[in-house]
């Protein structure tokens, strides 16, 4: 068998393959849920988009995590995040067989397990055949490499954009230019029409959703809103800015958050911990354990780049700016962490290093530096939420206990 050529590219078979996995793992709802109404909407939206992607006539674009999906929606395609689907499977404890598959097929165990898991799902032919594969180098080189070899696997056209690291006029021009060209290239490859008006519409939806997203974050500053931080993380990860359903989702969450904020019991109280780095599902033992003691909010959804509205008069340039701001960058990340700590009243930080994520590992010392300057307690944990061979709760439990204890004492 050559793993780099999918022999059965019929989406019905691929759907069957995926369904078998879901059934074997007894997964009914492929979505991490809180008790919020927004969470149920997201769950339905995910289920709908999932089934739609397997339909023979749907146009599916594989994308990497931080791809500017407004561009994909503008062409009427369904973006399929190759990594996040595998993460969802892992959250339900079904990643083992995929990880094993990669191990049998020359994939080094030193590679980040999120990527190995994703490659395993692709090797098992569980994803819907893509019409096109898209990548930028965000969040990491290795994910864009995975996207490229995936395109070989399915013999699909591959398009990429390089996101520069520094933010200045030249880099914005360069990136905006690449995006403009990408739209034309994609349309030509798929034999589709592209109208700028379609991008204007998706930008409008994106901004509308952002509006609610930012308003919810504002509430999160001053209130303890159970489930809201988790839902923000999920919305961030879903990266569905650009479709009307996401506006509905963000609006619902905001309304729920607003209602909650009116209740006296939801005034800020207790210790607040910021989770930096990969976070497991809310049902994961680590999360349950920590959240029993303190309120946890997640760093990634609070990055400045998430607050940015797109400029309707120059969408490419503003999408470019957002993309550059998403890039791992020590100075920008340090400044943002310091700001988030002040704005959200952070008492402690959990720096979660996922196995093989050397970007996060290499930035951790700089994050600890910010904690030192701000005199904020921190805990660094090495975890793996995908490959069970690399992680055991017992290995981190004592350190979490000590961290929580210190936090409690600083309360006195």
């Amino acid at each position: 068998m050559n793993l780099f050529e999918v022999t059965d590219s019929d989406r019905k078979s691929q759907y069957r393959n995926m369904s078998e996995v879901l059934e074997a793992c007894r997964i009914q709802d492929l979505s991490s849920s809180t008790n919020l109404k927004a969470s149920r909407i997201r769950s339905l939206l995910n289920a709908y988009r999932l089934s739609k992607a397997y339909e023979p006539d749907s146009k599916v674009a594989y994308v990497v995590e931080q791809f500017p999906n407004e561009l994909v929606y503008a062409l009427g395609m369904i973006p399929w995040n190759i990594e996040s689907m595998a993460i969802l499977l892992a959250q339900h404890g079904c990643a083992d067989s995929f990880i094993n598959l990669t191990q049998q097929n020359n994939v080094s165990r030193d590679i980040c397990s999120f990527l190995r898991g994703s490659l395993g799902v692709i090797m098992a032919n569980c994803y819907p055949n893509p019409d096109i594969v898209l990548a930028n180098d965000q969040p990491c080189d290795c994910l864009s490499k995975l996207a490229n070899i995936t395109s070989k696997n399915y013999r699909s056209p591959f398009f990429s954009i390089s996101t520069p690291t520094e933010l200045n006029e030249d880099t914005l021009d360069y990136l905006a230019g690449q995006q403009r060209r990408l739209m034309k290239d994609m349309a030509a490859a798929l034999n589709m029409e592209f109208n700028e008006a379609d991008l204007d519409r998706t930008v409008g939806h994106s901004n509308e959703a952002r509006e609610y997203y930012c308003k919810t974050l504002e509430l999160l500053r001053d209130y303890r809103l159970p489930g809201v931080a988790r839902e923000m993380l999920e919305i961030f990860g879903m990266n569905a800015f650009g479709i009307p359903e996401n506006v509905q989702l963000c609006k619902t969450l905001y309304q729920e958050a607003l209602e909650m904020s009116k209740k006296p019991e939801n005034k800020r109280s207790g210790k607040r911990v910021l989770w930096a780095g990969q976070a497991p599902d809310g049902s994961h033992e680590i999360m349950q354990y920590v959240e029993k003691e303190v309120e946890v909010i997640f760093w990634a959804p609070l990055w400045n780049s998430n607050m940015m509205k797109l400029d309707p008069d120059d969408p490419y340039r503003s999408i470019a700016q957002r993309a550059i701001e998403y890039h791992w960058h020590m100075e920008r990340f340090q400044a943002n962490l310091a700001e988030v700590c002040d704005t959200y009243g952070i008492d402690g930080i959990v720096i979660s290093n996922a196995w093989g994520c050397r970007n996060m590992l290499a930035l951790s010392p700089m994050l600890r530096e910010v904690c030192g300057e701000k005199k904020i307690k921190y805990l660094t944990i090495n975890v793996d939420f995908m490959d069970r061979n690399n992680y055991a709760f017992n290995h981190v439990k004592n350190r979490i206990d000590a961290f929580l204890e210190i936090l409690k004492q600083s309360h006195l």
């Binding site: 050559n2 793993l3 780099f4 097929n105 020359n106 994939v107 080094s108 030193d110 590679i111 980040c112 990527l115 490659l119 990548a135 180098d137 990491c140 080189d141 290795c142 864009s144 490499k145 995975l146 490229n148 070899i149 070989k152 591959f158 990429s160 390089s162 520069p164 690291t165 520094e166 030249d170 880099t171 360069y174 230019g177 690449q178 060209r181 791992w328 960058h329 020590m330 100075e331 290093n353 093989g356 050397r358 970007n359 590992l361 290499a362 930035l363 951790s364 010392p365 700089m366």
Partner: protein
């Protein structure tokens, strides 16, 4: 002959002393996509940081992380240990994520007078070439302002020609290795390729020309060896080269940055110098950092054919994610063409050399006999 090869080994061993004694400011570099021509035209001494002199990587490990590309950890350790204190700084090309993190750590923790991060696109298009040229222009401006100099077109042209001469000589070396009985050993080639980046181009060119004249005159009848091509990430592994060649096989080409990738092509001398430099460096980018893995794969397949390689050894440093991620794909394509590949994951200073030795011997011996 051994004596002559030893000249190159000495150039490597003494690279710091030599660069120091040149009496001009020196700038270290890590990536072969660093246009040395620009540094040279600025009157500086460009030299490659090899990481081989570091004693201990624990401090570098705590600044970055210990599960990191060991070439970069060793390079940072050399910086920490003061081996490059004589140099004005570093230029780090955006070759992979880890180099971005290295740049940040180097600048923050060591903060030499001139540290520069040069962005290099991952696709080859007219737009990316124009963008890379713009980056080079900015870099030139930064050098001019830091050193209060002017980098003239004439100086650039002179430097391009000097570096092209190095390329021509190195290509002559590789041409010799294409013959059925390659007269150059893998160890000689490794020393030569490293010496090429030791900051003494004129002297290197003279020595290499002499070496090539001698080798071409050599008339040592030998048995036709089993021909090995090494490809992969940063490869500076004399022990591994020795192990391979002790089996009776001969390394005929290294598709690595201390190998043919450094020597390929030439810069157009009759064009606008910056445009020519930008085009050259971007066009020759055939490593795993480029988005499209087929760029490297197709280049590798051409090399396998040109060098009539019987076996391929795919070497990657541990934690070099881009080469690791590329491997299953590249391997499957090579196997489809009936090419045997041995995969080795190692470190800059290998601790597991014994087990690697057994694997290499088993792989090659079963193919040779």
């Amino acid at each position: 002959m051994i004596e002559q090869a030893e000249i190159f080994a000495l150039m490597n061993r003494n690279r710091a002393e030599f660069v120091k004694s040149a009496g001009r400011p020196a700038i270290g570099w890590l990536s072969i996509y660093t246009p040395e021509e620009i540094l040279d035209a600025a009157g500086l001494v460009p030299f490659r940081i090899t990481g081989e002199f570091a004693q201990n990587t624990s401090e570098a490990g705590s600044m970055l992380c210990s599960n990191f590309c060991s070439y970069l950890l060793h390079s940072l350790s050399e910086g920490i240990e003061g081996i490059y204190d004589f140099a004005d700084g570093m230029v780090i090309v955006d070759e992979c994520d880890w180099r971005k993190r290295l740049y940040e750590a180097w600048k923050k923790q060591l903060n030499p007078p001139f540290t520069y991060f040069l962005e290099l696109p991952k696709v080859i298009t007219p737009e990316s070439k124009a963008y890379f040229r713009l980056q080079l222009k900015k870099w030139v401006a930064a050098l001019e302002s830091h050193y209060q100099i002017q980098i003239t077109g004439e100086a650039l042209r002179r430097s391009i020609s000097l570096h092209n001469e190095t390329r021509t000589l190195l290509q002559r070396l590789y041409k010799l290795r294409q013959s059925d009985r390659s007269p150059v050993t893998g160890m000689e080639a490794l020393q030569i390729m490293k010496a090429a980046t030791a900051g003494r181009k004129e002297e290197f060119n003279r020595e290499l020309a002499r070496f090539l004249d001698d080798v071409e005159a050599r008339n040592e009848p030998q048995a036709k060896p089993h021909r090995v091509l090494v490809c992969g990430s940063y490869f500076d592994q004399p022990e591994l080269v020795e192990i391979i060649e002790q089996t009776g096989a001969r390394i005929v080409c290294e598709d690595t940055s201390i190998g043919i990738k450094y020597a390929e092509g030439r810069i157009e001398e009759n064009e606008d110098p910056l445009t020519a430099i930008a085009d050259y460096y971007l066009e020759k980018a055939t490593c795993a950092r480029m988005y499209d893995s087929d760029i490297r794969l197709n280049h590798l397949l051409d090399l396998i054919e040109t060098y009539k390689a019987d076996s391929v050894i795919y070497f990657t440093l541990k934690f070099c994610d881009i080469y690791l991620m590329d491997y299953p794909y590249v391997m499957s394509r090579l196997q489809q063409q009936g090419i045997s590949v041995l995969f080795i994951e190692g470190e800059q200073q290998m601790s597991n050399i014994q087990s690697i030795k057994t694997r290499v011997q088993t792989f090659l011996e079963t193919r040779m006999f």
